[in-house]
């Protein structure tokens, strides 16, 4: 029998024969490792899980159109690529216009939005009834509902007046005098001709710029230099007829016609849209305690069909990320050169950062204190179990065992217990952390693979340390004294 085999046999024999004591030691190491693994897993995951809870404060980032640009739903998808999908809790686009309720001679701020997004970005919205699920359904703020006396199931007839909305349109789209128009039409040989006209106070043409770079240089291409031709347009009111209001430039009839066409198209596109009236059914009354109670909410589809435009005023985003990370995303959106710019809602981001920091520190300190105390607890138990065996140590020494062989045996036993307890603890700890996460946050926790070796190493180290101390004392004493029972 080799020495190693003997060593193993001694350890296993000791473990098996002294079942109850070893069970106690194993149990205590197991508890220590469970607490270690469980708490550390929770600690690592708390910022993420708590951060998700903080999203109930609502949007922490706003996407706005850049100055002079308009933002549409199509642009939005492009913009959102800057933010990782798994961190984006929700996005709610908004378009605000004023709608008239002719029957009561009142007008309200109406927000067109995507209700699926709203439930995610503004979970604090409290709706009596239900969110609109299809078109022609309306969510009414509590203040409006109380003032005009509508209830869930009532109908409201709302009208969109183009003039009422004019002031919130961008200059390009504006249908009022003093705005500028731009349009294009096909010129000679299929090349496009572009025009931009500024209108004066009387909605007549004030100045005109043309882009005819696609036209033949000697013919249509001469137009920008021809002051007399361009001067004919000044002071004229659109639409124009070629040959009546303005004369074609000789040799460039097709291009001249294209310019007139482009202008006419531009003014037609910008012509005041007709008022549109829709009868809505009220599906819900909204309570928030904020200014939203003075708005009505309708779907973006209704908003688009009423106003004939799919532009957005603002998009509220709820992103589950820390303040620094949010700033990075905002810079990425703003810096991408698209039509959108991003701003952080400081009230939410700043406060979240400070509260979350405190909570993380709390869990950290608690974890630290609990771990420290538990580990001392484990080692006292181990020490008690080992020091109980002083007689055995004395006997072995009397039989001629060397100090180092005794130490090695006990250490081996301790390390084995540490290994076993560590594995047990890592598994139980994860189960515990999972239970906590599901109960508290309603979502599962991520397994930290590094924690398995860490839990095993720590429990082995503690087991070994708490064995060594009592053994050192035991082997130092004269075997005769130990055996005598002093």
């Amino acid at each position: 029998m080799t020495k190693r085999k003997m060593f193993l046999r001694m350890i296993t024999a000791s473990l098996l024969r002294r079942r109850s004591r070893m069970l106690i030691a194993l149990l205590s190491i197991g508890i220590g490792a469970t607490i270690l693994a469980g708490l550390v897993t929770i600690y690592v995951d708390v910022p993420r899980q708590m951060g998700a809870q903080f999203r109930s404060y609502g949007a922490n980032m706003l996407i706005l159109p850049r100055e002079g640009e308009t933002l549409t739903r199509a642009d939005l998808d492009e913009t959102l690529q800057a933010i990782p999908r798994e961190e984006l809790v929700g996005a709610a686009p908004y378009r605000y216009v004023r709608l008239d309720m002719t029957s009561r001679q009142q007008s309200f701020t109406a927000a067109g939005t995507d209700f699926a997004g709203v439930t995610q970005t503004s979970p604090y919205f409290s709706v009596e009834g239900a969110y609109p699920a299809q078109t022609r359904e309306l969510l009414v703020g509590k203040e409006i509902a109380e003032t005009i006396g509508v209830k869930v199931g009532s109908t409201m007839e709302l009208t969109w007046q183009p003039t009422a909305a004019a002031s919130e349109l961008s200059p390009e789209e504006s249908r009022v005098p003093g705005a500028s128009l731009s349009g294009s039409a096909e010129g000679f040989g299929g090349g496009m001709v572009y025009v931009t006209a500024a209108l004066n106070e009387d909605a007549a043409i004030d100045s005109l710029t043309v882009d005819v770079s696609t036209q033949t240089a000697e013919y249509g291409g001469r137009i920008p230099e021809d002051e007399t031709f361009l001067a004919q347009f000044t002071g004229k009111t659109l639409p124009l007829t070629l040959g009546e209001d303005v004369d074609a430039l000789s040799g460039a009839t097709v291009t001249s016609g294209a310019i007139v066409d482009a202008l006419n198209r531009a003014v037609q596109a910008a012509a005041p849209a007709k008022p549109r009236t829709v009868i809505f059914t009220v599906t819900g009354i909204l309570t928030t305690g904020g200014e939203e109670e003075g708005y009505v909410f309708l779907s973006l589809q209704d908003m688009e069909s009423m106003t004939g435009s799919d532009r957005l005023d603002v998009v509220e985003l709820s992103v589950s990320a820390g303040a620094d990370q949010l700033q990075t995303y905002a810079d990425a959106v703003t810096g991408s050169g698209g039509k959108a710019q991003a701003r952080l809602v400081k009230r939410v981001t700043r406060s979240e950062a400070s509260v979350l920091e405190k909570l993380t520190a709390l869990v950290f300190l608690v974890t630290l204190v609990v771990l420290l105390l538990t580990m001392i607890c484990v080692s006292t138990t181990m020490m008690a179990v080992v020091s109980e065996r002083r007689r055995e140590i004395g006997l072995r020494k009397a039989l001629g065992a060397s100090d180092s062989s005794i130490r090695a045996e006990f250490l081996g036993e301790g390390l084995f217990l540490g290994l076993l307890g560590g594995v047990m603890g890592a598994v139980l700890g994860f189960v515990f952390a999972q239970a906590v996460s599901v109960n508290v946050f309603g979502s599962s926790i991520t397994f930290q693979p590094l924690l398995l070796p860490a839990a095993i190493l720590v429990s082995m180290a503690i087991a070994a340390l708490s064995c060594l101390l009592p053994i050192r004392r035991a082997v130092a004493i004269d075997p005769a004294l130990v055996l005598k029972g002093e």
Binding site: Q53, T288, G289, V348, L365, L373, T380, E388, V440
Partner: protein, 431 residues
Amino acid sequence: MLFRMIRGVLFHQKGKMLLIALTIMLGASLATGMLNVVMGVEEKVNKELKNYGANIVVKPKDSSLLADIYDVGEGAELNAAWLREDELGKLKTIFWAFNIVDFTPFLDAQATLPDGSTAKVTGTWFNHHLDLPTGESLDTGVVSMRSWWDVTEGRWLDERDENAGAEIMAGALLAQRMGWHAGDTVHIAAAQGEMDVTIAGIYDAGGDEDEQLFATLDLVQALTGREGKVASVEVSALTTPDNELARRAARNPAALSSRDYETWYCTAYVSAVCYQIQEVMTGSVASAVRKVAESEGTILDKTKLLMILITALSLIGSALGISNLVTASVMERSQEIGLLKAIGAKDRSITGVVMTEILITALIGSAAGYFLGFGFAQLIGHSVFGSSIEMNTQVIPIVAGLIALVTVAGSLPAIRMVLRLRPAEVLHGGH
């Protein structure tokens, strides 16, 4: 004889008993520390959440909607209802006065700037000193209720300053548009007056407020001729997360049974605090800002539950640790117990001796552990929240009961096992 034996054990087996006492002390300190933290955490986190600003807004009855909905401009006297500035102190006299942390009045006006454009100027308190009817005093204002503002230039307007009445704070976007800097003097005009004001500071609020002006309440009252009137009050109150009763009460307090009503009124639900504010402020409607109130509830509940579960884990851990050690130490004394049995001791008296020893040790250990644990709770309180955690007397019986239970439970199986042993066998040295 019993006393002598116990004294003998306590003094002769000092080492072993010390180990048990140490373990029990650690267990008890863990229990004490965690329970104190768990009971104090709600209040602490609640205070931290005040960072998000007011959770209650008080407005005059019937007027709240008019300005927003009809877009009536300054001077249209539709918005004829106001709150009274002299009643603000009454907020600290309601049943839950102690839970009202901060409150600030607001009064808006449309001001004409030197270049002819207009901006909203809001009159409010910055660091207002208020002497309460109760004889106490309170310092409150936007300095604490807009904790997320950054003063990018200059300083916060200081109401203790004698020039405060002619000072103003400008939003970053407005200042940028107008080319203003801290220290500049600008001329503003409103419905009932005009004056030169000095810009004390420029703030970045990250919202609509960046395009506004903030001045003292007196200044805006003078500009608009509305002395002693305020348009709204923001209140920051420590509240209990809503439950089913609170939701029922929020809809209609009158519909509650008198018993439910009492429970609701005497609990710091946000709806109860709102109700009490309405009772003291003439013609007011107080409503919960759901964005803040609801989120506070969620976060408080989650934090508390998390801490309770961590506490439960550490309690189970320390309980098992203690009972383990007690079991081990009783078993270790099998020889001694065998000897006692051999000389004719009764089972009952052996149990009595062993249990008394252990319970005395446990008592000493847990008393020391209680103070150690309280120290841990304070350590956590101070390093995380910067304030001490109140000593909670409920913790003492819980910890005492827990330790007693654990110690007895830990010794029973071991004693039973030892008693079953035959003295001859034990003394012979077999295990």
